[in-house]
């Protein structure tokens, strides 16, 4: 199975995401922002980083990259897409996911091992978790506070589209402690913390992030 990892100018965690894809058993295919061809991948990851330096608004420029046109089209057709951190911001800017990520309540960049609870295991990115499992993976961003209007929040909660929630003290002021959400169909997932940095306790706080990458293999093989 082939999982594409997009590199935008300023992407930082693209190599890490590719490593995690391989650790999860799939083949990682490097996709380039300026190339609309998805090279036959079965799923796509938009990695973390500071694409275009976060200029204008996080993800606002990347959303217009040629590769995003193809990804939006495929995502609307059901292809699994995972946006991590800056990738989540790009998905919101692309209107594949509702809401927006704003500056952390504490006003600082925050890098910390973060406990989150996986609340929805019906997506292709979370199927290998058990529901309600608490895991620890890195959170690292300056603009990770998830915000949306009340109606959207009610919809996300009502449709069980909150994929993961922060446990304990709210690290950034996200509404309802939201760490990740999905689209209505469940194939597009945005996640603020970084599972790709938690695939080996040697280099991360845990290996708790690995099931995101084994889940996608299962989801694609199962098709």
């Amino acid at each position: 199975m082939k999982v594409g990892v997009v590199t935008f100018p300023g992407s930082l965690d693209d190599r890490d995401a590719a490593r995690a894809v391989r650790a999860g058993g799939s083949e990682a295919i490097a996709l380039w922002h300026d190339d609309a061809d998805l090279h036959g991948v079965d799923a796509v990851i938009l990695p973390g980083g500071f694409s275009y330096g976060d200029y204008l608004r996080c993800g606002a420029i990347s959303r217009f990259a040629p590769v995003m046109g193809s990804i939006i089209e495929k995502a609307n057709g059901g292809m699994p897409v995972l946006g991590i951190c800056n990738g989540f911001q790009i998905l919101c800017e692309s209107h594949l996911l509702p809401g927006a990520l704003t500056q952390n309540q504490g006003l600082h960049f925050l890098c910390t091992p973060q406990k989150i609870k996986v609340e929805n295991i019906s997506t292709p990115w979370t199927s290998n978790f058990t529901e309600g499992l608490e895991i620890v993976i890195p959170l690292k961003n300056g603009e990770g506070s998830f915000q949306c209007d009340d109606e959207t929040l009610a919809m996300l909660e009502g449709e069980s589209r909150v994929i993961a929630r922060y446990v304990g003290v709210n690290p950034n002021g996200s509404r309802n402690l939201i760490a990740g959400i999905s689209n209505a169909r469940g194939n597009v997932v945005g996640l603020m913390p970084h599972p790709e940095h938690a695939i080996d306790p040697l280099t991360g706080p845990s290996a708790d992030g690995l099931p995101f990458f084994t889940s996608i293999l299962n989801a694609m093989v199962g098709k």
């Binding site: 100018p9 300023g10 930082l12 965690d13 190599r15 890490d16 490593r19 300026d34 980083g49 500071f50 275009y52 330096g53 976060d54 200029y55 600082h108 960049f109 925050l110 890098c111 910390t112 890195p138 690292k140 300056g142 970084h194 790709e196 940095h197 040697l202 280099t203 991360g204």
Partner: protein, 742 residues
Amino acid sequence: MALDTVAIAAQTPDQEQPFAALGLKPDEYQRIREILGRRPSSSELAMYSVMWSEHCSYKSSKVHLKQFGEKAPHSDALLVGIGENAGVVDVGQGYAVTFKIESHNHPSFVEPYQGAATGVGGIVRDILTMGARPIAVMDPLRFGPADAPDTRRVLPGIVAGIGGYGNCLGLPNIGGEIVFDETYAGNPLVNALCVGVMRHDQIKLAKASGAGNLVVLFGAQTGGDGIGGVSVLASETFGSTGPAKRPSVQVGDPFTEKVLIECSLEIFAEDLVVGIQDLGGAGLSCATSELASGGSGGMRVELDTVPLRDPSLSPEEILMSESQERMCAIVEPGKIARFLEICKKWDVTVNVIGEVTDGDRLIITWHGETIVDVPPRTVAHEGPVYNRPLAKPEYVDRVNAQVLDLPMPQSAHEVKAAIIKLISSPNMADKSWVTSQYDKYVQGNTIQSQPEDSGMIRIDESTHLGVAISTDANASWSYLNPYEGAKLALAEAARNIATAGAKPLAVTNCLNFGSPEDPGVMWQFAETVRGLADGCLEMGLPVTGGNVSFYNQTGDVAILPTPVIGVLGVIQDVRSRTPMSFTDAGLELYLIGETTNDLAGSEWAYMHNQRGGQSPIADLQREIRLIELLLEGQSIFAAAHDLSQGGLAVSIAEMVLHNNIGATISLDQEIGIVLLSETPGRVVVAISPDHAGELISLARKYDLAITKLGTTGGTSLTVNDAVIPLDELRTAYTQTIPKLFG
């Protein structure tokens, strides 16, 4: 202003020139006239003024720094030594590692965020320029008193600047130091270290050779920021009055730098450059003259082809601008098409601005008129050299003779109070309010970072090869005895590598001092360099490069002599490294190394406003034996943690808090000394009781004292009768910094 050309300069020998305002002394200006046989053109004057500044020319330090070459130990590991942008060390398996520290002290005081940010940017480009992929950064920082108003201004800005730039580059920040002391008020120290990795055959050097090869400028456009930064900012003492210096601080754009890194690495991978130099201090003046001087000598540059962010800049300003995120490469004509193609892929601005010539002159033109015609070596490498007067300051004997009068804890109550007081002091308290603003996970190879003894990065995922780095300074000891202080900082940095199981290989340094025009400061500097060179020779560790920052003083008050020493080591299998703390109860804790009464220069003395007495004398043979013991015994250590500032009290508190597993220790000597003395050459290790015999015979083999302290486990730190619940200890440890800066 009318263009001042070389021809006009030759015709108007008597025209007055603003050399003093550019930082040149009258005799230096006279020497330029002698070299050229005429007065310099205004562009030439601009180039000489920045390149002959203290920051670029090392004119006050050169006569001392040559000891690093003269006393260099034999080392098979050194691939590129002092003089290039950064030294390069062989770490085996075909990998070469390059690392260096630089200061960005003065800009960070003027404009904390941008000053610190561009400090990171500059050192990262130095590492990139060697052909290496940057893999991590570290930041040793020093500030005035933690509760001083100016510290509250500069610290948050500096930390945010380091984070803002480094995080955006995707470089894990794996360590550093934060120290508060009155002498840094008005003179914060921002030292930035970067480490990079490459294969042996990818090493690049700063030389322009091969007539007909092209001079290519790529990266950001040139703007009016940072004009004269090295001469005006870094080479002068701040007065209490005087004009605002903000226009001399550069403004960073980390996004452009990130793209420049990826673009450059792709260019290097295809072997498209003959030589390369980054544009840092002194901008184009430095890059063109150093490239030409490092090569055959001849170069012709059309300055009007430099892409500008501000079209109104004069040629002098373009030559002096320190706009960030720029690189200058020498490219064969046959490879230029591919070079331009890669720049286009990454949307990097690129221009051919000149070519290498047969001659031995650096000639720069502006719309066809010659504005610079100089022998490049006289600009880049043959600047003035000063053997400045030095004299032992009167304070040294006076403070050395002082006898400390410190309260020493004895009762359980006093022991507990002392530990709490130490661990909650700003210098000793938890710094995660700072380090949590830095990305430590990016690139996925960080094995250790703050608060471990050293930062450790995996460089090969399949063989598990890694490198470890630590930076250390003990300015209090350097103040009492700069010769020993330098050796002791070297020993501490090496020890901090070895506790994790890495073998020390090479040294870099950042020497932060007051004004070299003060004979007392110059004596401190000379003693420091002599100590470091002697120490490196004795420990067999070559100095690969470094940086000198003078003029860190306000009025007559200089900072403490602060040599920050960085040691790089190699570890064959990062999976086997020893962490600073234990994860199990029931382990035995041992102190390796002897404790004597070394309270002079200690944190305990500092907290009681006493800065007298005599610093310890470095016993580097004992340090070497300790390192050998740590490396040989690595497999039996569950944890190993260096003892330094704050002594055993702080180290044991850090160990129990790290994984929230307590310890019970009993000390039968004089408890205050054992807890608070900072005798160098000591490490606490945790081992399974099964290994006790092995450890004791290792200590015997290496002739080192060993003391059993106690065992791990429980929910408190218990020292004899003093019981400190971990929760209470944690509160004391973690509240200080957020309260001050949060």
